[in-house]
Symmetry: C2
Subunit: 442 residues, 2 copies
Amino acid sequence: MIQLDKKETTDHLYLEVYRYYRDLIQNGKMLPGSKMPSLRKCAQELKLSRTTIENAYLQLAADGYILAKAQSGYYVTEISVHQRQKASSRYSQSVNVRFDFSSAGVDRESFRFDLWSRYIKSALRQDQRMLTYGEVQGEPDLRQVLADYIRHRRNIQCSPDDIVVGASVQCLLQVLCPLLKSRYHSVSFPNPSFVQGSTIFQDFGFQLHYRDKNSQVIYVSPAHMTKWGEIMPVSRRLELLEYASQRESLIIEDDYENEFVYLQKPTPSLFGLSGGQNVVYIGSFSRLLLPSIRISFMVLPPSLLDAYRKKADFYNQTASKAEQIALCQFIRDGHLASQTRKLKRLYAQKGKQLCQILSTVFGKEYSIKMGPAGTSLALTLPCVVSTDIVHKETEKKGLRIPVLSETADTKTFLLSYSAMEVQDFLPACHILKETLQSLSVS
Amino acid sequence: MIQLDKKETTDHLYLEVYRYYRDLIQNGKMLPGSKMPSLRKCAQELKLSRTTIENAYLQLAADGYILAKAQSGYYVTEISVHQRQKASSRYSQSVNVRFDFSSAGVDRESFRFDLWSRYIKSALRQDQRMLTYGEVQGEPDLRQVLADYIRHRRNIQCSPDDIVVGASVQCLLQVLCPLLKSRYHSVSFPNPSFVQGSTIFQDFGFQLHYRDKNSQVIYVSPAHMTKWGEIMPVSRRLELLEYASQRESLIIEDDYENEFVYLQKPTPSLFGLSGGQNVVYIGSFSRLLLPSIRISFMVLPPSLLDAYRKKADFYNQTASKAEQIALCQFIRDGHLASQTRKLKRLYAQKGKQLCQILSTVFGKEYSIKMGPAGTSLALTLPCVVSTDIVHKETEKKGLRIPVLSETADTKTFLLSYSAMEVQDFLPACHILKETLQSLSVS
């Protein structure tokens, strides 16, 4: 219900209504494009005549705050946006980015939306199942399929009862951290880049370190050791397990991008190598399916299962039930396996093509770091101006490209090529070259 | 990769394979219904002949562990379930519950699956949008629609930038608690029943109290004060706000079931009454749409927005992007409003019908507590035997009915009637009556 200060004189009631909405629009509480209440409804709610409301609306329209659309009603215009506080500027998309090397999205052509859509529809047809809350630990049939999947692909022997499903790696860590808190107090991450993970540990009061072997919890992404796709060799994996077992530390193995190992055989998982002793395994599908499908899972070792089961009922399942049911059947029917093969081929090829283009564009002036896996490479170029200026100038020309590190006379850029289309590689690289040239001249 | 202890004599290799899978099945690492690897694949992986594998499978089938399905392959049977440890018994559904007064599900007939399905399909058709991660704070268009929605229905003036979307109330609390930790250390819940909420505060080290006015954070569900539908009157709301403002405590207003107020006008929200000062508003849709659709949201007051914005980028969005896009358009097109009207009518009617049936079945021996809102009532009956025995005996007869409280000679049951069908009320009540009668005689 809207409340107005109704003045004594009814003459200016419409102005009260006018000011009420004008303020809402100016404060950004009604954004451009939002629909005004219908005259009838507004009149009803405010217990005023329709004419009063209409007068107010006409005044708002006259002042440009709203706009009438035939057969539809009144809508807030763009006019007042300029007057608004910049509170929301953080959320505004940069307008003209045509080429984006920073995107962690997936290749546009790679995903079969029609197919996924069919699985979702079929999940929604399971009326009775959709009418209730999901299993706290994740849908049982999905957990069975996941157990089979990681047994075949990652050498992990576990029961569906050992698997916990969640909407994201973060959601899983939010369930895991409280279980660890009584026993462990420090955590080590390989580097500061996975802030979504380290934030959760910090939220729960863990001491956060980087590359610190003495931490009680060691978080690793063995298939994604560096952003440019280096992976942890088996010998190092065995060393790490041995070291952790001696010190009774816990390893959290985030198997991110394990499917995208091109140049060698996939290395066995830490969980598999250790037989599940003191390793938590985390898997996710954002790189295989769509980033917008929110399903991850973790496998808990026996040492944590009891503690988890005591608390499990206190947590809600976070992943969408429809997406869980769809993913289960999608995997059963072999589509995840074929999608994985397809993406692996595609990304290996795209990486190669990008390398060729870099060589064509930059001649002998560049160096590349590119591991045997992943969907990114690190490109080092001579450049003496500051990172800020490089970002500003490239974005002006429609190119977004993150800087990974810098020295006095070089910049190392990170080029993620999973989402960018191949035909964009060349123009994007040319923009980078031209920008750096013009900056070095000026 | 599977690893076997290959013995010297190749004669019994098939037995090794047999034992390997038998153990997996007996340990519950392969559950009934899961598919065995194909003969070809298994032979390839183990570097054994197809005949060896086939012999092993035939032996497994002969012993009843697996079953061949024509044109499809081998599947694990139910046989070994009985031998398994009861580790997973927690997850097994009670088999014969025909009537369930404990379900927080929604009425089967009430939800238009076809309609929702169409909105999801249309969301999935937005290819480009589905290819990227969602906005950390929630999709902007959904937040706009939510801001409009609560302005009209809950008297809340806020901008879409003040709204944070998450997969569940828990997910939101997991973002909120770290923001509160530096300023607040104690939290009060009205009672121990919302364990999903209190757990999160405990996970973050808050002191947990019940009905404690001195706590720094006060968690309330004003539209769901008791399980049987009592709501907080406006006078009490104003008192609470006044008290909290004097002591600078923070109120978290969980507006659960606010749409299901039948017998009086909806009371204004605390957030609206306070103008958003020191109140966090939480809304969700599990009771209006499907419990399996995981979308909730919170409105942060100005005092918390800055702290949130500094950390926002460190959190992933937990709610499914497709479901967010679908919900946005669903609300825009007026379906949430009509669904709400429909459910409100339906549940008011079901409550009345259940009351009539209770009167018919229990004559003068019972008393009911039923507030002006909600989808449950509290039924007190004479009963001298223990709650455990009542549960055991009713479940034997196919009725699940939770006990809310007890005295020496009465039990108070909680009857949730949102999910149960009307035609089941009478037989369910008869089972309860007969069980109590037979227990009082024996």
